[in-house]
C-alpha cells in the first residue's frame, strides 16, 4: 500500500536515506575487528515486531475483537 500523502520525491529521499543507513551499518560491521555474536547483535526485541504489536493494539481499541 502506498501512502498517497507522501510525494514521490519525499519517498525517493527516504529510500536513499534508508540505503545510506544500511550501507553505514554494513561498512561498520565489515571493518569491525572483533565480530559480535548474532545473539548479541539481535538480543533486543525487533523494532518492527514492536510496531506491529502497538498497531494491533490500536486496531483492537477501534474495532473491538481483532
Amino acid at each position: 500500500m502506498t501512502n498517497p500523502k507522501t510525494s514521490s520525491v519525499e519517498r525517493a529521499f527516504k529510500t536513499l536515506d534508508d540505503i545510506f543507513t544500511l550501507g553505514r551499518a554494513l561498512v561498520s560491521a565489515i571493518s569491525d575487528e572483533d565480530p559480535e555474536r548474532v545473539e548479541e547483535v539481535l538480543s533486543r526485541e525487533l523494532a518492527s515486531s514492536l510496531s506491529r504489536a502497538a498497531a494491533e493494539a490500536r486496531a483492537r481499541r477501534k474495532y473491538g475483537a481483532f
Binding site: 500500500m1 501512502n3 500523502k5 519517498r11 529510500t15 534508508d18 540505503i19 543507513t21 544500511l22 550501507g23 553505514r24 551499518a25 554494513l26 561498512v27 561498520s28 560491521a29 565489515i30 571493518s31 569491525d32 565480530p35 559480535e36 555474536r37 548474532v38 545473539e39 547483535v41 539481535l42 525487533l46 523494532a47 518492527s48 515486531s49 514492536l50 510496531s51 506491529r52 502497538a54 498497531a55 490500536r58 486496531a59 477501534k62 474495532y63 473491538g64 475483537a65 481483532f66
Partner: protein, 147 residues
C-alpha cells in the same frame, strides 16, 4: 562493496570459521538496520490503514503485505540464531558436521525478505546484495522439500 567484503573475508588469511562468524555478524547487523527502518515504514502504514478502514477485515487486508514482511524479518532472525548455533556445533565437533551446506538456505531466506521489502518500501535487494553474496560465497544448494 562486494569486493571490499570479499577481501575482508578471505583475503587476510583468516579461517573459514572466522569468515563464517563475520558473515553471520554482518548479516545480523544488516537485519538490525533493516528492522529499524522497516519499523517506521510499518508504523506509518498502520496509522493510515487505521484511519481509512471501516472494519477490522479492511484493516487486515491493508496491512497484509506489511505483516508478511514483519513475519519474514522474525524468520530471518530465527534463521540467523539457528545458523550461529549450528556453527558452534560445527566448531565443537572438530569441524566434522555439514554446517556450511546450511548457509545456502540462510541466503535464500534473506533474498526472500528483501524481495518482499522491495515491493513495499523500494529498498531493493541491491541495497543488501553484499550480505546475500557473502552468504552465497560458501556455496552449496538449499534443498527445499518438494510439494
Amino acid at each position: 562493496m562486494i569486493a571490499i567484503w570479499s577481501i575482508s573475508l578471505f583475503g587476510c588469511g583468516g579461517s573459514y570459521v572466522s569468515a563464517a562468524k563475520r558473515a553471520l555478524y554482518v548479516s545480523a547487523e544488516t537485519l538490525r538496520a533493516v528492522d529499524e527502518e522497516y519499523a517506521d515504514v510499518y508504523d506509518r502504514a498502520a496509522h493510515i490503514a487505521l484511519e481509512r478502514s471501516e472494519t477490522a477485515q479492511d484493516y487486515k487486508r491493508h496491512m497484509e503485505e506489511y505483516d508478511e514482511a514483519e513475519t519474514t524479518i522474525r524468520a530471518v532472525r530465527a534463521a540467523l540464531f539457528a545458523s550461529e548455533a549450528g556453527l558452534d556445533i560445527y566448531v565443537e565437533n572438530g569441524e566434522r558436521t555439514h554446517w556450511f551446506a546450511s548457509v545456502a538456505c540462510l541466503a535464500l531466506v534473506f533474498e526472500s525478505l528483501f524481495q518482499q521489502l522491495d515491493e513495499i518500501t523500494g529498498l531493493g535487494p541491491q541495497s543488501i546484495a553484499p550480505a546475500v553474496s557473502l552468504l552465497k560465497a560458501y556455496g552449496g544448494v538449499c534443498d527445499q522439500p518438494e510439494n
